[in-house]
């Protein structure tokens, strides 16, 4: 563990108005690691990763990427650093087609007379090919608006996009939501593959047993605080579940002893 962490979060505090959503959170994330981020509803998991992907700026504390302090928080900057995120509740524009959503922000262009026009052929072909692997039905075309898709199909668009644009970090916020058994397995395999390719994968889920199987390390959050951070070898899935159920008090006691 002499290598420096790819992402380092130091004493992070975040307020939404008066609400204290993240409380003095410090955590390291290493390249080539699959990290499970777990905790109750409203624990602050999504809020934490939204700082990492540039949506929220912290009120206090620091984030380091590759050893460099992050000064400005914007999704564009995070994406340019190589952080790709499957968001829990945002990420798709209902009024646009699948292909347009897939490439939103990085649209491929074809120059005609030097003017860059959207390369529709590529957008359609590539997006539908990638998304089909994650459960998009054959009778849905890449030109269909996202609005008409089912929950699972919407999720498949987000996952396909992350796979296509994966770079250094892939953050998955409850990626298997709405997915059927087969696609769920596929996504979990994918998470492991990405990690084996040397990427940092942060995987948020409520499926404790699944994440215990997949992850190298699990970070538990409760009420905006990090209450545990342990390798999956050192902690059984049952113990993990206990910690979450009791809001991290078990860990505190253990540490106090």
């Amino acid at each position: 563990m002499t290598q420096q962490p790819l992402i380092q979060v130091k004493n992070l505090d975040l307020y939404f108005g008066a609400f204290h959503a993240l409380k003095n959170v410090s955590v390291d994330f290493n390249a080539g690691e699959l990290i499970g981020l777990v905790g109750d509803n409203g624990a602050g998991k999504t809020t934490l990763i939204r700082v990492l992907c540039g949506i929220h700026a912290p009120t206090k504390g620091e984030v380091f990427f590759d050893g460099r302090k992050v000064e400005k928080f914007h999704p564009k900057l995070a994406i340019d650093q190589g952080i790709e995120t499957i968001q829990q509740s945002v990420g798709l524009c209902d009024n646009l087609s699948i292909a347009r959503n897939f490439y939103l922000g990085r649209e491929p262009v074809k120059r005609i007379l030097g003017i860059p026009f959207l390369d529709f052929a590529k957008m359609r072909e590539k997006s539908s090919r990638v998304i089909r692997q994650f459960g998009l039905r054959e009778n849905v075309s890449a030109d269909d608006e996202v609005e008409r898709l089912s929950g699972g199909e919407r999720q498949s668009v987000k996952i396909g996009r992350a796979v296509e644009f994966k770079n250094r970090v892939v953050i998955m916020d409850e990626p298997t939501n709405h997915l059927s058994v087969r696609e769920r397995e596929h996504v979990n395999e994918l998470a492991v593959q990405l990690k084996e390719q040397g990427l940092l994968v942060i995987y948020i889920t409520h499926d404790i047993f699944q994440v215990h199987k997949l992850a190298d390390r699990v970070v538990i959050m409760e009420n905006g605080e990090k209450v545990a951070d342990a390798s999956t070898d050192s902690m059984s899935a049952e113990a993990l579940e206990d910690v979450i159920r009791q809001g991290g008090r078990v860990v505190e006691k253990q540490e106090a002893v």
Binding site: G91, C93, N95, L96, R100, N101, Y103, V109, P116, E147
Partner: protein
């Protein structure tokens, strides 16, 4: 046909057909004359330009109430600066003023996180106030030289008996369609209107997109003002008053949803045609001119109901 129904401009297409049918029945000899049609199409072209800019802003889920004043201000600048700068010079400076006005308002909306309704209402009053101060309330004219300048004729003359403004609206609407549906900027503009958070999370600089939409909107309003004055080079302090209401009506009748992210360029032009035709025909039929506003209001409400029903029928969430 299926494509037509699915397009946002469908309501306006039906509206234009119905309107023409009614005008044909009640006033065949008055409506279908070269004079009427050339007047109506000329006014439509001017309003359409303003409404197209408005449509871009509405598609980003904002609104611009200042277009009438910007139209007037740009026109006044164009006419009053001409003696010192010449026609091309004052054209450029006038458009630059319009762009600045759009930039300032757009920046206030995105950086100040203020409602565009309020910011541009301020813009409406501010720009109108500048017009009053600048002109001192008096009327300004082009010199005979400026009237016959090639550029003035290019913008305000006619070709084959058709007013220049109509060619301009043709060219500009074509360019806007290509920009909106065929470029990165267009994709990001539509995404910003559809869901700002989602677009932002994909790395779209939605603040820049919105500011750009406001700038384009003011430029188009200003250009429409210049086209009008090249045709009739005389300014008045009320130039462009109430035009924001007509422009918003035209955009909404044309199928732009105020919920953002959806609209149709052709629909906006047809919407402008409906608004202008009503104004013209009511006056032609001898109705007091004040009735026209009431009619536009009624048409607007019918159009909104129709377009919403259509959108719901197509499964959009509005």
């Amino acid at each position: 046909m299926k494509y037509l129904v699915r397009s946002q401009g469908f309501g306006a297409t039906v509206g234009v057909i119905a309107m023409l049918a009614v005008f044909t029945v009640i006033d065949f000899s008055g409506w279908w004359t070269v004079q009427t049609l050339s007047n109506v199409t000329q006014f439509t072209a001017i309003l359409a330009l303003v409404a197209l800019g408005q449509a871009l802003v509405i598609m980003t889920k904002e609104i611009d109430l200042s277009v009438g004043s910007i139209y007037g201000l740009t026109g006044v600048a164009f006419i009053t600066l001409e003696p010192s700068l010449g026609v091309p010079g004052s054209l450029i400076v006038a458009l630059f003023i319009a762009a600045i006005a759009g930039f300032v308002q757009g920046t206030a909306v995105v950086k100040g996180e203020l409602p565009s309704m309020i910011v541009t209402l301020g813009g409406l009053f501010a720009a109108r106030g500048i017009i009053y101060v600048w002109t001192g309330g008096s009327v300004h004219n082009f010199s005979p030289d400026a009237r016959t300048h090639a550029l003035t004729r290019l913008l305000g003359g006619e070709l084959f008996g058709i007013a220049a403004a109509i060619y301009w609206v043709g060219i500009i609407s074509l360019l806007l369609s290509i920009m909106l549906w065929g470029t990165r900027f267009g994709n990001r503009l539509l995404a910003t209107g559809g869901s700002r958070e989602s677009a932002e999370s994909r790395g779209v600089r939605t603040d820049r997109v919105k500011t750009a939409a406001f700038v384009l909107c003011s430029l188009l309003a200003g250009f429409a003002g210049i086209l009008t004055l090249c045709n009739q080079p005389q300014t008045h302090v009320t130039l462009g008053e109430n035009m924001e209401l007509e422009a918003i009506s035209a955009a909404v009748i044309g199928g732009c949803l105020l919920t953002g992210g959806r609209g149709s360029i052709l629909g906006v032009i047809l919407g402008a045609l409906i608004v202008v035709s009503f104004r013209y025909e009511l006056i032609a039929l001898g109705a007091p001119s004040s009735w026209y506003i009431t009619f536009v209001g009624a048409v607007l409400i019918v159009a909104v109901i129709f377009n919403q029903k259509l959108a719901r029928f197509l499964g959009h969430s509005v």
